[in-house]
Symmetry: C2
Subunit: 340 residues, 2 copies
């Protein structure tokens, strides 16, 4: 398109200045006289001058773009995270480049290549369920590309992390189930590679151990694709209900798994919570409208997106390389409803 935007040269010509002067005046460099500075700025303002970002990028090797790596945009949790990311990016004049990998390692790698090719200034990353090897990120990290991990993180790479208190959230939910008197509390969780899986299991186990419960490993079921494939959830549930002593309560460890399980349980005609209670991690908009209203562990996804983006932009704009990395942990909220 022909934006017909005014350029530095145009200003220089109009004002009879060299364009290096104009450039400096515009960024308020102290070596320029007040008078010229004002002159230039006013002219620029009046003519709606905006620096050409492509030129700036080329020169500075900075694009003012942030790359986002995640599994699925329409997933409620991530959609809210993105919204948080956008809110900060907007206010700091960064633009987002969002990629989704649908839980495929291969696509994660390919998306990453695209993003770096685009020379993003930094990366916000939540790993795919298939991702065990993080060397593709490691390589970029070694080259000095700022990155912040959120939600599904890795400790293999020293970087800022923003996560939910997964241990606490799962612990709290499991305790709640114990207190309600449920005896055999099973859990359906995501891929064992994921940090969130490990942490949520830890919370779950902690609550059970504290209560002196010892449950067979069979009460823990994994979905290698995080419930992306509905059959995974189906067979997980099937395995649980097949047990000689089937569970009387279920903790589901992610949005997709929660909805999927709930739906399948209903379809099987099991009564919730009488035959099986359900509590789950979920950022679904309206769990109170469910039948029965669903007990959820809610994460502050919007805040997570905001925090991660703030950390990232700080790092991108920091003069000296960042070497101390923060790990922000956001609290979860257990909302008890009648499914438990």
């Amino acid at each position: 398109m022909k934006t017909d935007n005014i350029t530095l040269k145009d200003i220089a010509k109009a004002l009879n200045l060299s364009y290096s002067t104009v450039s400096r005046a515009l960024k308020g460099s102290y070596k320029i006289s007040e008078a010229t500075q004002l002159l230039v700025k006013e002219y620029a303002e009046a003519h709606h001058y905006r620096p050409n970002l492509m030129a700036q990028s080329l020169k500075n090797q900075k694009s003012r773009c942030i790359g986002v790596v995640l599994c699925s945009i329409p997933n409620n949790f991530f959609a809210e995270v993105i919204s948080g990311i956008e809110s900060i990016a907007y206010s700091k004049d960064y633009l987002l480049i969002i990629t989704q990998n649908l839980e495929s390692y291969e696509r994660e790698v390919k998306n990453l290549q695209n993003l770096t090719w685009r020379s993003v200034d930094g990366l916000l990353i939540s790993l795919s369920t298939e991702t065990e090897d993080v060397s593709h990120f490691q390589k970029l990290h070694d080259q000095g590309l700022p990155m912040v991990f959120f939600d599904r993180v890795t400790n293999a790479i020293p970087a800022h992390q923003v996560i939910t208190d997964n241990i606490g959230g799962a612990y709290q939910a499991t305790r709640h189930l114990i207190e309600r008197g449920y005896k055999r509390i099973a859990t359906i969780t995501s891929s064992p590679f994921l940090s969130i899986t490990r942490e949520r299991l830890e919370g779950y186990n902690k609550a059970l151990t504290e209560a002196g419960r010892h449950l067979h490993g069979e009460y823990i079921q994994y979905c290698p694709h995080g419930g992306m494939i509905i059959g995974e959830i189906e067979s997980a549930l099937h395995n649980l209900l097949q047990l000689p002593e089937p569970p009387d309560a279920l903790l589901t460890a992610s949005d997709r798994i929660t909805i999927g399980s709930y739906s399948l349980i209903q379809r099987k005609g099991l009564l919730i919570p009488d035959e099986i209670a359900v509590a789950g991690f979920s950022n679904f908009n309206a769990p109170e409208l469910f039948n029965p209203p669903l007990t959820t562990v809610r994460q502050n996804a919007f805040e997570m997106g905001k925090l991660a983006t703030e950390l990232l932009i700080d790092q991108v704009e920091s003069k000296r390389p960042v070497s101390v990395f923060e790990k922000k942990v956001l609290p979860t909220e257990l909302i008890v409803r009648s499914s438990t």
Copy 2:
């Protein structure tokens, strides 16, 4: 960051060629000997050469970026649209720049400035509820920036449109309510500025008229912010229930309004569908889990995103200016559940 990417010059130096030759060889220009072409291509391949996009952009005035203008990312409908957009953009090597305006005209304008400043190659647009005047888009359109409108479109600007069969969807849902025997069918709809509002009302009215029903205007309630503000829905509902003859059925015209109304109705203790039936436009993931399961008009949001993006990229890459504009209309799906 230091991507340490190999450049044209590097190749030229290594191969003892001028870099114009290398450039031409790489894009398979016919004026280059087979031999050199092969040589260059192989070397480039082997060394993972990728052209610097910032340089290319600067030179070609093309960024391979698509700007997306919409109201809210976490809104289910739009999240699905974005997913569709991403799927095409990914396959054609375009990147997305997504902005959300939270139904604010002012923010829509500011986002647009950002996008054009970024020199996106094209725009995918769904208007905010506040947008009555589209001159900010018109101006860009006049400058030749390709744009495709989806969902909330305007006829003031000649451009491709991808929409849902809103008339048909609302008509079908309203007919369904009539056939079920409901007498006073009210509707809560979005901002009167929006194309979707007008069309859905048209379908609603058509069904009523065909059935020989004449309803007072009071049975139509608007939410100027599309339900972004919950109070809007509250007062709309309040107005309806206050009527001397309150409605016995309700058609809600958007995702947010549907969920909001459902929730409020429940909170008021009204029985659905006995005291009031509800059917609504919604791309919510699991309306079958609701209590009672919700009758919905579902749109093919993913497909909408895909189609719009295909149209846009075709236009962006077309050699000659496009002058014939398509209007793609996607079918809706009425899924009857027990709320009606």
